[in-house]
């Protein structure tokens, strides 16, 4: 897919769970064309600088991308203060996340520049959310799980907000799955990744898993010491190729 150095990025509102208006950061490539859509699901720190950068990165590579602010209802305020409030409440409920992601997908498909296909990508808790949504929503065209942990019942969980372990929704996933993981990660551990792969394989799903040596949790995240430039560069290429393959028309 072509590179689009020109892009526009702005904050938008879309209709999320319960028809609440939810804020999203929307970045789209400049120029003519019908662009595939991607919903980027943030990690627990919320709308931090890296999440917004990653949204623009996807747009630069040809994907009209929206990063919903899943903590929007805890605002107004700065994203870090809002994330702290959401954390103090135990995070957001899975049902609300699914509703918000469905709304973000509908927003993308309604844009005049959309080609109609929409994929999900999530990082860390967002990877868990992406897996959850791909198993809960019927119209996901591609799923990228970047080191999403806590997919299993035996992980620490909050039954009221997170009643169903995402792994139990595996059989309902219809989208092809790309998994990106670091072998030094503790959550998901290599054993967790193996268990997830076994479940996908048993269910006959279309998946690709890539496990990186010398990388742990969050190895795309440049401001942190976990950043592994070589592994991240290779994995980003796999993300772009996967979305290009499954979201193009």
């Amino acid at each position: 897919m072509s590179s689009y150095p020109g892009l526009t990025a702005e904050c938008v509102l879309f209709k999320g769970n319960n028809d609440d208006m939810v804020e999203g950061y929307y970045a789209k490539p400049s120029g003519k064309g019908r662009f595939p859509g991607v919903v980027l699901i943030h990690h627990a720190p919320g709308w931090d600088e890296w999440i917004l950068e990653a949204t623009r990165k996807l747009a630069q590579h040809g994907f009209a991308t929206i990063a919903p602010h899943l903590y929007h209802r805890d605002g107004p305020g700065s994203p870090d203060d809002i994330a702290a409030k959401a954390r103090a409440e135990g995070g957001v409920a899975d049902g609300q996340v699914v509703g918000d992601i469905a709304g973000a997908m509908a927003y993308l498909r309604a844009q005049p520049e959309a080609n109609g296909k929409v994929g999900l990508i999530g990082f860390c808790s967002g990877g868990r959310h992406a897996y959850l949504c791909a198993g809960s929503l019927p119209n996901v065209d591609a799923l990228v799980d970047c080191w999403g942990g806590n997919k299993f019942a035996d992980n620490k969980n909050n039954p009221a907000k997170r009643p169903v372990p995402p792994i139990e929704l595996t059989e309902k996933i219809t989208a092809p799955v790309l998994g990106i993981y670091g072998n030094d990660d503790k959550n998901p551990s290599p054993e967790d990744v193996n268990k997830t792969e076994e479940r996908l394989k048993k269910a006959g799903k279309n998946y690709e898993f890539y496990r990186y040596d010398g990388a742990g949790h969050g190895f795309f995240n440049a401001p942190r010491s976990a950043y592994r430039p070589e592994q991240a560069q290779d994995a980003w290429k796999k993300v772009f190729a996967f979305f290009e393959k499954h979201l193009s028309r």
């Binding site: 627990a44 954390r87 103090a88």
Partner: protein, 87 residues
């Protein structure tokens, strides 16, 4: 991994935030991804209070090692200070 595991402590005191001094009653403590510190995981403490009807916080993000060292220094300061004041 982002855990959402948070310890909450009731505290009595004050903290100075962007809007000046405020009374604080709660501290939320968690070891997870920080927002600002260039660390993979940090011991984060949010001291929470109210200023003019809105919730404000004073936040710190510490490495695990320095957080443990801080715990020891807090204990040491309490012990020596209480001893001095009792004398």
């Amino acid at each position: 991994m982002c855990t959402y595991i948070t310890e909450t402590a009731k505290v009595v005191g004050s903290a100075k935030g962007p809007k000046g001094w405020m009374r604080i009653e709660t501290a939320n403590i968690y070891f997870d991804h920080p927002f600002h510190a260039p660390l993979d995981h940090a011991l984060n403490i949010d001291f929470v209070g109210e200023v003019d009807g809105s919730t404000q916080r004073v936040a710190v993000e510490l490495s695990a090692e320095s957080a443990r060292a801080l715990i020891q220094k807090i204990e040491a300061a309490l012990t020596s200070g209480e001893d001095a004041h009792a004398a």
